[in-house]
Symmetry: C2
């Protein structure tokens, strides 16, 4: 059964990368004027800026900062590069604290030069190494399982079962899971694993978009909700059934939409959110 319709925008969050052609300042102004209530900030949007002031600017626009994207990319065959990744994750934690984001989404990484099992172990080790820094800064970490088509270089965590297992093993209140319909819609165990995620109280955030049919680019051809074949409403109903009260975050990478007028695209996002999310 689908979830009840969304009647307002009170839970609508948009990722800064969704409207990539806009600066974070333009995004803040336009999101706010359109009634969007939350923003997830990608680190590239912060380049060359005072992060603390940017956080203040977003709050002045009455936008809740939902998360910072992204930490992770822990695995590497060479230990020096794993060390560099740890340092970068510590930096991300500092940035999240300065910005005022309570959560960092982890795209965990994968090194095609070593077995997936090694990458998975290095992900767990990496997360455990940064937990003290996350805890000190009061920043949560969301393990985001990525679609299996990204298992070569982007993430060796490819199902919600794996993310749930890892969060459970790590067993820290700072570590949970981010559910993205794009990565997980195909999984026959999805409803069960979303329930499990909620029961473990570690469902930290929820991303939405759609899977285009056909998909012409493995990375940059995500669709607006309703354009493709993902049952977004149904998956949202599973998420809500866990007691999740957080935002629904629109995260779309799209060469097609990035070429459009972003104000028109924002209107389309809001329409798709109301009708198909």
């Amino acid at each position: 059964m689908d979830a009840r319709p969304v009647t307002d925008l009170s839970k609508l969050c948009i990722h800064s990368i969704t409207t990539k052609p806009w600066s974070i300042e333009e995004a803040a102004k336009n999101f706010s004027a359109a009634g969007v209530k939350g923003i997830t900030v990608w680190r590239d949007a912060l380049e060359g800026r005072n992060i603390r002031e940017t956080g203040e600017m977003l709050r002045e626009h009455v936008l809740q900062i939902v998360s910072l994207c992204r930490g992770g990319f822990f695995p590497n065959k060479t230990s020096a590069k794993r060390k560099t990744a740890i340092d970068d994750n510590k930096k991300a934690i500092e940035e999240a604290a300065e910005l005022g984001a309570p959560l960092i989404v982890l795209v965990c990484g994968s090194d095609p030069n070593q077995p997936l099992e090694d990458s998975r172990k290095q992900i767990k080790d990496g997360i455990e190494e940064i937990i003290p820094f996350a805890a000190a800064a009061k920043i949560k970490l969301g393990i985001e399982p990525l679609h299996p088509m990204y298992a070569d270089t982007r993430s060796a965590i490819n199902t919600l079962a794996q993310a749930n297992d890892m969060a459970k093993e790590i067993n820290s209140k700072w570590v949970g899971v981010t559910v993205d319909v794009y990565h997980l819609w195909w999984d026959p165990d999805l409803e069960y694993e979303i329930k499990r995620c909620g029961a473990n109280k570690h469902l930290f955030s929820f991303h939405i978009c759609d899977w285009n049919v056909p998909t012409v680019d493995m990375l940059l051809d995500r669709g607006l909700m309703g354009e493709g074949c993902i049952p977004v409403k149904k998956i949202r109903s599973w998420v809500e059934a866990t007691g999740y009260i957080g935002f629904y975050e629109v995260e779309i990478f799209s060469n097609k939409f990035w070429k459009e007028d972003q104000s028109l695209f924002l209107k389309k996002i809001i329409k798709a959110y109301k009708e198909n999310s």
Copy 2:
């Protein structure tokens, strides 16, 4: 632990589509001359030919006909189209019998206009409907789980667990599973499910290739064994541990290789088979 090296070509089968620019007659001549022992025939390669005579031609070249690709594509929102799919599968069974192929590989299909659960039910119904025809012709049917990136239109069966479950539920000696490393390499449960597949005595065939890093086309950019990040030897060792004594079938769709001289490509296949399979 990797499997022992392959020391000869006695288990090497190549799919006709792997050397797509060649006619089936050219493929037969060249495979045979190179010492290849098996061929899996794609139905497009049979167009405009007498199928029985083509089977004889292949046997004259001392090529074992391993399977016919492909049946399946059962799901559709409209019952008339599901009926058409059943008819086409019956036709495939006739063709396999005429050719002398003991097995049809099923790319099960998926209709993006309906929930995956509906597609999965229609797949099971479709297979059960054609079993009597398969049994009468003594043709086995191999459910091939496809990579989750094909869940929209090509297959709603995306893990070996699903294929094993379905084969077990259907419970016919004519229905089993085809394992393809390209579709399944990312799965954390792969070793377990291959064991289960073997224990159920329904591991019917085994396809190999590699996952290119990066992959530039979702369908037509498969790599030669050793070029990418799939642990082909390790997966072969799991397959062999089940007691599997069938062929290792090289199935590569590649715009890049199809543009090359196919005789040189065949040499590369044999080298990759010996060194990285």
